[in-house]
Amino acid sequence: MTKFKVCSKIHLFIIISVLFIAIGMAIGTVCHFCANGFFNYGDEFSSYKCVTVTYYTSEYKDADAIKPVCEEALKGFNPYEVSYYSDNRMGGEIVYKYSTKTDSAKLQAAVDSLNTALDKNQSGLNVASLHEATVSEGGSRAITYASIALASAAAFQMIYFVFRYKLRAACSALLACVHNLGVFVALAAVTRIPVGAQFIAFGAAVVFLTMILSCVLFDRTRKNFANELYAKTERTEVVDTSACEVRMISFIAVCALAVAAVVFGVFAAVSQLWIGALAPYALALLGLIACFYGALFFTPAVHGAIDGVCEKLNKSTKSGGKAAKPAKDKN
């Protein structure tokens, strides 16, 4: 893997990336108009149906006492979230959340039968009710500010890289950030993994990791350019060699983070006993996939291409300058 040359395959990577991002954007746009949004909004962004069960300790000691009655009546419906509230004295509340696709009529029938079961003493104290909740679209301020922060971060990185690594590396770094973020967004739109508020934080993490890996690559390239050993080697080849040298570090770093995300995901699924709990961790994995592809293939290839083009332009300018010299020389 470490010997794989990427610079010569720049066209392939550009086609893959552009195609992928375009498909992601197209699917997202179609879903925005025909389905539930550009992304599959989940967690706090998703509307839901819920059954709220209010109970009093005079009849049911605690939530555990009333739970079997509720679960029996609501058997056949799969809540994606169950939450409990108790004031430890008078009683409490259990809220079962269901997706909007759940059949309201059937759920209402189940709630009616639950009410009959709960009101065994005809006290009218313990009541279950079905609610349909529409969530207002939120988070626009967080998204706006996060976008401003990410854009300024990418701009700052570019300015810093202009001074530290030259303009061509700065352009490559900026492209790497935009590309990885684009691929991440496209992956989220295509896979339809439920997106919650943490999606923005994951975007920031993608930019963060891209910057770390870009620094490692550009620094190695800069060193190799300065190395006498590569004085006569084509610059694109030097970039390729540098990419090969740092590939293992990038590979291990991304894989280690992916393993960490998997471990966290498994524990989250165990905690919630629900496969849907994996959603944020799956999103984190998508971000890592974007970084993996970007760091190992796209960024070095683009860096090589930009550097090659700049070098050719440089040479042609220089040779053009030489040709023009005699014309300037009036003597």
Binding site: D43, E44, S47, C50, E81, V82, S83, Y84, Y85, V95, V127, S129, H131, E132, A133, T134, V135, S136, G138, R141, A142, Y145, A146, I148, L150, S152, A153, Q157, Y160, F161, A197, Q198, I200, A201, F202, A204, A205, F208, M211, I212, C215, V216, D219, K223, I249, I252, A253, A256, L257, A260, A261, V263, F264, F267, A268, S271, L273, P280, Y281, A284
Partner: protein, 519 residues
């Protein structure tokens, strides 16, 4: 450095890390089981996934729940309630249910914008059955508070959430009020006029907007603004907090400045000398006015940053045309849900973090042998720095924050991997280990510094410009990047400590000098 010194330093470091880890992870009872010393980790504030939501449902006036309907007498029931979903609507108050639903939906959008300004890691505003609005915000409990092991912290977090829910859901317009029914005003010529507060404009809040006077009696308040729409006085209302000082700033429009000067002149002559800032029936700020105010902005001190922010959000919304359309019933209770990630989500997150760290240790030891063990110890110290920082800076832990911490840990490991690769390259080139280390650190200093400089500034940008979870990620990234850089140089020191006593200068920690034939 002698072998003894090397061993002592290594053992001292290991001990320090062990002690810090003990207090970070273990909670135990003290003072004969009377008190409990909670671990640092259990004192970290958690996001909704790990500690649940604090939520409340607000109902418009004239809308009641099935429970409330159940206790009505038959006469009242027959009087005209219409069942909508699981709620009942008083038809006298709301003849057009569809209009009511539209108003509730519009108000939910306004509330959503208001809560969006609060910077929560996650929150939701949901319209239930088209007629009530359920608002959920993170409880911000610590693990100890969530498990009822720290009642004081639990009550503080719950109070903060309740205060936010109560203030930000304030309905009605912004009014500036006084408790004086009439105010005697003296002009420059010595003429006395009377400002009759009770007759100024149509003020429906008189009987609802009440304050406690100096004798602890609850009294009505009256408009101090001559019946004006005071929202036009202000351009914006903002809040700012530095350390423990929090201020609310009112920025006046040109006309508003003049009007406010007039209004404060009136307030100075009043017996209470107070101006109460109300949104609907909720008093958000009171201003003790001893002289007329003629400034482009007015800054008032608030008791804490949360209070300042809540009040500023509600008032700014009212100023910018975001007053709620309907009148709502007072919030009767704020409930807390269990963690959305499962009852033991926080504990399992902690265990998963330990496992990930253990995996990293194994990877480092396998790859770098003895040196890997030392780096592992420092990586462990890095994790402790993050845990202590999360606790001390009250950063709310969400999965985003955990991921950012992992990225910072990756930064630390990558920095070391870069230098180790350079050491390996130089050793294979024929240098002694000591010389390779010295040269390698010199060679990669700019790589590592560049990486950290870029990232620390990016992190600062995220922490200051972004809001909510991203800002929290930015803040922990600032700490993580700085810690990574400091510990990177500490690793350099540990290279020196553990490699100094080694007799074979050409073979160490899995590295071996390559001897060429012409050597």
């Amino acid at each position: 450095m002698s072998k003894a010194k090397s061993v002592v330093i290594t053992v001292l470091l290991a001990l320090a890390v062990a002690v810090a880890a003990f207090f970070a992870a273990i909670s135990f009872p003290v003072a004969n089981n009377v008190k409990r010393l909670n671990s640092i980790a259990s004192n970290i504030h958690l996001g909704a996934r790990f500690s649940g939501y604090a939520y409340t449902t607000v109902y418009p006036e004239g809308v009641i729940t099935a429970e409330e309907y159940g206790i009505l007498d038959d006469e009242n029931k027959a009087d005209g309630y219409e069942k909508v979903g699981s709620l009942y609507v008083d038809k006298d108050k709301h003849s057009d249910i569809e209009q009511l639903k539209a108003d509730v939906a519009a108000d939910a959008l306004i509330l959503n914008k208001r809560f969006g300004q609060k910077g929560y890691s996650s929150y939701s505003v949901a319209v239930e059955d088209g007629l009530s609005v359920k608002i959920s915000v993170p409880t911000n409990f610590t693990a100890a508070a969530y498990k009822y092991n720290d009642e004081s912290s639990r009550s503080t977090s719950l109070s903060a959430a309740s205060a936010a829910l109560s203030s930000i859901t304030a309905y009605g317009e912004l009014t500036l009020r006084t408790s004086d029914e009439s105010i005697q005003l003296n002009d420059a010529d010595g003429n006395t006029t009377t400002y009759d507060s009770t007759k100024k404009g149509k003020d429906k809040w008189v009987s609802k907007a009440k304050v406690t006077d100096s004798s602890n009696n609850t009294v009505n308040t009256y408009s101090l603004a001559d019946g004006d729409d005071v929202a036009e006085y202000f351009r914006s209302v903002t809040s700012r907090s530095v350390g423990k000082n929090a201020v609310i700033t009112f920025n006046f429009t040109k006309e508003g400045r003049e009007k406010f000067k007039e209004l404060t002149t009136r307030a100075v002559s009043s017996s209470s000398q107070n101006i109460y800032f109300f949104v609907g029936d909720r008093q958000l700020v009171s201003f003790s006015c001893t002289e007329a105010v003629d400034r482009s902005s007015l800054s008032l001190q608030a008791s804490d940053s949360g209070t300042a922010q809540n009040a500023a959000i509600a008032m700014n919304s009212a100023v910018k045309g975001g007053a709620l359309t309907l009148d709502y019933q007072d919030i009767s209770k704020v409930s807390t849900s269990t963690a959305t990630g499962g009852e033991n989500a926080a504990l399992l997150l902690f265990i998963a973090s330990i496992l990930v760290l253990a995996g990293l240790v194994a990877l480092l030891v396998v790859k770098y042998k003895k040196l890997g063990a030392v780096v592992s110890l420092i990586a462990f110290a890095f994790a402790l720095v993050i845990v202590y920082a999360l606790c001390l800076l009250n950063i709310q832990v969400t999965f985003g924050v955990v991921l950012t911490s992992m990225l910072c840990l990756a930064l630390f490991v990558i920095s070391n991997a870069v230098v180790f690769a350079e050491v390996k390259r130089l050793t294979e080139g024929g240098r002694t280990i000591q010389a390779s280390v010295k040269e390698a650190y010199k060679n990669v200093i700019m790589t590592v510094s560049d990486m950290h400089i870029v990232l620390v500034i990016v992190a600062i940008l995220l922490a200051t410009v972004a809001a909510g979870e991203v800002a929290a990620c930015g803040l922990i990234a600032v700490i993580g990047v700085v810690a990574s850089y400091v510990l990177y140089w500490f690793t350099r020191f540990m290279w020196y400590v553990i490699s100094s006593p080694v007799k074979d200068k050409f073979k160490f920690a899995g590295l071996k000098r390559v001897v060429y034939e012409d050597d």
